[in-house]
Each structure stands twice: as structure tokens, then as C-alpha cells.
Symmetry: C2
Subunit: 404 residues, 2 copies
């Protein structure tokens, strides 16, 4: 296996955008190619992650070809990957694999998503609801409706917020983590988002303000739920001679792991797909949780970030609340998490998120992260989960990168 | 690169089915695992092709996980691939790549599609129409409507039949191929389908009967258009020690090529994605067109088979009509094409077709093809195209297999 480097990264601002999916994808790709200083002709294959274009824009089947043609990329192998919110990380994994094994020297990995629809506000939300077994979900609909405790209409929130609320209540019971802890995650990620020009949201909030916000579904307030976002992110991967950049800063992918979920007991943070993927990644890279300088993780809700701390070994089981309260995962702490603002504040255009995390890791490891730079970041971890299937994420990806 | 073998193949009958996509996929997977004599625990990764489940069944995002869970496959990496009618071949290619490069020893590749919908007859047909740039198609809708010359309502046929009709008219002009030649393709493939228990259609027809059938859009009659089908096909790929079978018959993948289309002049059969993919496959395998004993090609319409003859080097440019008329591509001829019945008669559940072709190639090379066996078949070629984008297929796959 050859060393694979990220030689270029590009990303749109994440936002509720009036731009089309084509425009967003094109912007990210052009940025990544320019950053890598490669031309479209040098790209030997493309791996494209998208989750819901078929349901939101009507473009199914050949999404990558349609997105890449306007920027002049065609003829090469193009693979369209779908793994719910882990679509982009899955595309990245296959791109990494093709370069690591010597099939190609230079590939493009793109994640792009448009969740907003000009005429149908609920379309994106409804599409997100297909990241489960839709037959089972239909059977469970009555039961789930009864379980819903929030004061808002279900059409205004994703099915996933109800799922997360359930997991969160279980998590509070077994860990002692509190709603204040969840609010602390929001305060941190909003603070970080305010330092990220590509983030959808960012502000200086207090724990009290977060708790006082509209309740989506108890115990989650609006600030604790990742927003509906549009956006795209792209990276160029290369090995060997092609992995040179004018400035020499080409972070190296030390581990790329994708797994699918097993049925498991949610109360055991070491049993699920996230912990399993992280363990394999650490073993592959010969790197442990304590070695990670900066992490971008899948905080689709604020409490999820705390659970992930435990799953990736940043905290002992039940220690997520204590870790956020300690400030260690804040910018300026010993192990900052989600300096980009995370899904909560950078935004979560679902099929783009996995590669957006890699963009942030790349910029952090290159020292290019501006006001949100983690000082001396040399080792980064990203964790990106997708979908839900009877007790676990349907897809889970963990990547570890080093500065060179 | 290691030698990769097909150690098991399984396939449902293709048909308008009352079974669910889960049932169809499960049936094909269980068949393939039994044929390979491997257990679900031995499968290290799965690559799943599907094109329209999001639009037809509502299941987007995690299709493979949802299909594989009921047969007991989970935990492993599962990748959902989409490349229109070449979705399954794309999944196969990535599975092949992962075994050839030593990432895994045993993988599952599945293609599954359900185009019929119990309540909405037009849903599958409409979904197929997303295998183009849907924005461009919307812009072109008026123009295309004017071009339509058929006597049937557009809702009763796919956009692709109109596209194929246009290409066919051009092809007739430049090659001299006639509607009788197209009918000869149908007669051949119907004859073959009648010998394939998994084929949707099969009968002994005459050229006159084919020409007298209802016109879909001139010059295509109903028999010249591939049907709406449901079905699934799966193969188990392996290398090294894992590539042993009790009976020793494990066809080897000698070339696996996927490309995307470039804008090109349709009148030059050597310029498009199909010819390009075939040339690369022949070079990789060190095998030429004359060495192919049997081929399964993408006869989405009858005239397409003639154009493909030229693209894959079975005939000179313009020689497709002459080749079908010669009988060489019939069962019993020197170079049979589509012994399975092809897309026209075996059926075309679009996201399953690419792997169904590999199943047929496997059975032919093992001597397991029953009444449609090509005597002494040692070398097989499959060609599977998907989607359309400004002058060429959006995705194109060519595979070459040998008996061992």
C-alpha cells in the first residue's frame, strides 16, 4: 500500500443556498483543483458522494457525471456513492483505496448535497428520513408518533431528531451527562463556527441561551440539532511523484476505515460501529486516541458529540459530559473537537459532510485554519456516520491523517 | 494485481414480480453464497448496485444495508453504487478492484432493481428518465416532444426509447442496416430467452411478427425495446486460497474496465465510451475480439446490439446488419451474443443487469448454461452501459472473463 496524500482541498460555504447542486459542486471542485495545482486532465478517476439528489432535485442515477461535466471532467471512471450521511466519507475511502493500491495516481473525491428546495420546504427533511429501512419505519410510524414528545410538528424536524432524542435520554441515564453539557457542546461549536468563514452559523452564546431556545424534541433544543444545509466539499488525493505540492504541505491519510452497523446495545459505547471503526483506524495507523491533536466528528446533535468522545476513546464510558465541561475539547484546549463548528454550526449538507471534515483536517494540519487554527496540529481524526438500521449506524467511517 | 475469480453466481428470474426488492436481492445473494459454498461470515465487503430504489420504493441512502441485513450480512463495509443501467457493473468493478489489490479475499457484488410499482405503473418509467441530466432534459422537453414520432403516449415509454430511435435512424443511414436486421436480433434473442429459465420472455418469432408488432417509436417496435423488469443478480469474487470451489470451476476476471462518456460524434463507432472501454479491456487481457467465444451486451434496444457489434470489434464500422444476418452471433454460430436472451428477453432490471451478464458469462464458462450453452466457451465478454449525457453513455463497463 502506498502513502496517499491530500494534495488539494476545496469547499463551498455551507448555507441554505440559492445555488444549484451543480454550482455548489463545481465551486468545490475548482477550488480543490486549484489548491492542488492540478488540471482536470490529470484527474484519473472520480468518486462522488451524494445522498438525496434523487429525492430532492430529481437527479438520480448519474449524479457525479452531471456534476462534473460542467467543470470539464468526463471520460474517466466516475463512481456515485451513497451511504446516507457517510456518503462522502465512503467516496473518499474508495478514492483512497484506488490510490493506495496503485490503480491511480491522482483522483478526485467530491461530496455534494442540496437539501433546500425552492418550492418545497419539507422535501429535504423527508429525504433524510430515508436513511433508515423505510419499510420498517412505515411499520413503526404509529409507535414512533407516540414516542414523540416535542411541541413541534413532525414535518418540521427529521425523524433522526426523534431517534437522537431517544438515544440521548438513554445516554443521560447511564452517563449522568446533563442538558447543560449538551449546551456546552453548542457553545463551543458556535464559538468555533464564528471563526470559520465557510460555516453556516457561529455566535457567542451562553449555556442559558442554548437551553432557552425552542425545544425540537426533549431534551434537544434547536441549537442542539444540526441544520438543513446545502454545500459541497472536494479533495484531490495522490501518491508518489504526483503527491508533490509547490508548498510541500500534503497531509497523509494514515487510516481509512468504513464499516456498517451491527445490531448492538446502544448503552455499550465500545460495541457500536463508531468504536469499531475507530479501533481499526488506530490499529492501522499505529496511533492512539491520546495522539490525536484535533478531531472533526459527527455531531448531528450536541449530545452525539459526547457519545462520540467515548466511542473514539477521548473519554471513558460515561465520561463525555465531564470532558466537555473540562474545556479540553475547546479551541485552546488539549484536544479540540470540531474546530470547524462541526455539523451543528458549520452545517450538515449530508452527502458532503464526510469530505468537509477531511478539508478541515487538511487545513488544520497545514496550519491554514486561520482564527480557528489548533496550534501545532500534527495528527487529526475524522468520524462520519450515516443512516440507522436496527440499533446502529448503517455506515460509519473513521479517517486518521497526519501533517506529512 | 492478483487473479480474481467468480466463485459463485446467483440470480432471480427476471420478471414483473410481486416480490419486494428485499426478497429479490435476498434470493440472488443466498443463491450466490450457496453456489460459492461460502457463509455470510466469510464475506468481507459488499458492493451493491441499484439505480432507482429511491424514486420507485422510497428507499434511498442505505439500500445495500437494508437489502443485506435480512440475509444476515452486516458489520462489513457496504458500498452503494449508482451508475444508471451500469450500476451493477460499477459495483462489480469496485469489488474486483478490492480483491485484485489484496484489500479483501472474498467480497459480494449485488445488483438489484424493482421497476414495477403495485400502484403506480409509470413510476419505474419516470425513474429511468433520470439517467440523463434532468435539468437539460427539462429544457429540451419541448424539442424532444416535437421529435417524437411514435403513436403511443410518452408516459408509456421511456425517454430512452426516443433517444434510441434517434440514434437508430442515424445508424440506419450510415450503415445501411435495416429494420429487418433489428428484427433478426429480436428473433435470435427471443429464441435464446426461451432456453433460459431465468429470462422474462422467450419465444420462436419470425422477422415478420417482430415488424408487425406495435410501434413504440419508429423504427422500434415493441419487441425491439427491452422491457420493464424486476430482479437481482449476485456474484462472490475471491482470490488466492479463497478462490477454490469444490468443483474447481472458477472463471477468472481478466479485465474490468469502467469509463464515463465523452462528448463525441455518434457516427464514429470507435470514438465512444463503449469502444474505448472495450479497447482497454482487450489490451489489459491480452485478448482480441476474435478470441471471444460468447458475449453478453447491452441490447436495451435491438439496433443497439448491432451498434455494439461494431463498438466491441465484432464487426467493422457499418457491418452490424451484415453480422446479425450471417447468423454468426446466434446460438450455434461462431460467436454467439446474448445467449441469455439479452436485455430484450432476459429482461432489464436496470441496476441488476451488469451483474446478471456476469452470471451468464460464469455459467457459460462453467458449461452450466443448459439449453443455451455455447459449446466450448472459454472466453466471455460483457458490455454494460448506463445513462446518457450529451452525446455518449454516462457510464460504460466492459469485462472479459476466461474459464479459469
Amino acid at each position: 500500500m502506498r502513502d496517499v496524500h491530500v494534495i488539494g482541498a476545496g469547499m463551498t460555504r455551507f448555507a441554505k443556498s440559492t445555488k444549484s447542486l451543480k454550482e455548489l459542486a463545481g465551486e468545490a471542485v475548482v477550488d480543490a483543483l486549484q489548491d492542488a495545482d492540478v488540471t482536470t486532465d490529470e484527474i484519473q478517476a472520480a468518486y462522488v458522494g451524494n445522498a438525496v439528489a434523487g429525492l430532492v432535485t430529481g437527479q438520480e442515477m448519474i449524479r457525479g457525471q452531471v456534476l462534473l461535466r460542467p467543470v470539464g471532467i468526463g471520460g474517466i471512471p466516475i463512481f456515485n456513492l451513497e451511504n446516507a450521511c457517510a456518503s462522502a466519507a465512503s467516496a473518499l475511502h474508495l478514492g483512497w483505496q484506488s490510490v493506495a493500491t496503485g490503480i491511480y495516481d491522482v483522483v478526485l473525491c467530491l461530496g455534494a448535497e442540496k437539501l433546500t428546495h425552492p418550492e418545497d420546504k419539507n422535501r429535504g427533511m423527508a429525504a433524510i428520513g430515508t436513511a433508515v429501512d423505510v419499510e420498517l419505519a412505515a411499520e413503526m410510524a404509529d409507535e414512533m408518533a407516540e414516542q414523540m414528545s416535542g411541541g413541534t410538528e413532525s414535518s418540521q424536524r427529521s425523524l433522526f431528531m426523534d431517534l437522537y432524542a431517544g438515544w440521548t435520554k438513554d445516554y443521560m441515564q447511564r452517563s449522568g451527562a446533563t442538558r447543560e453539557n449538551f449546551a456546552q457542546v453548542v457553545v463551543k461549536n458556535q464559538h468555533n463556527g464564528a471563526r470559520n468563514p465557510r460555516a453556516q452559523y457561529g455566535a457567542e452564546l451562553t449555556v442559558e441561551e442554548v437551553l432557552a431556545a425552542r425545544e425540537v424534541v426533549w431534551p434537544l433544543t434547536l441549537y442542539m440539532c444540526s441544520p438543513i444545509s446545502d454545500g459541497a466539499a472536494a479533495v484531490v488525493l495522490a501518491a508518489g511523484k504526483a503527491a508533490k505540492r509547490a508548498n510541500g504541505r500534503v497531509p497523509r491519510i494514515r487510516a481509512s476505515v468504513v464499516v456498517s452497523g451491527n445490531v448492538h446495545d446502544q448503552s455499550d459505547p465500545t460495541a457500536g460501529s463508531s468504536a469499531r471503526a475507530a479501533r481499526t483506524a488506530y490499529e492501522t495507523a499505529g496511533i492512539g486516541p491520546d495522539d490525536i491533536d484535533v478531531a472533526e466528528v459527527h455531531d448531528a446533535t450536541a449530545p452525539a458529540e459526547l457519545m462520540i468522545y467515548e466511542q473514539i476513546g477521548f473519554a471513558e464510558p460515561g465520561g463525555g459530559g465531564e470532558l466537555i465541561a473540562s474545556g479540553k475539547t475547546s479551541l485552546g484546549g488539549t484536544q479540540p473537537v470540531n474546530p470547524s463548528g462541526g455539523l451543528l454550526c458549520k452545517g450538515h449538507p449530508i452527502g458532503a459532510t464526510g469530505i468537509a471534515q477531511i478539508c478541515e483536517a487538511t487545513w488544520q494540519l497545514r496550519g491554514d485554519a486561520g482564527d480557528r487554527q489548533v496550534d501545532g496540529a500534527r495528527v487529526a481524526l475524522t468520524q462520519n456516520g450515516g443512516g440507522w438500521l436496527e440499533g446502529d449506524s448503517a455506515a460509519m467511517a473513521v479517517h486518521i491523517l497526519t501533517a506529512s
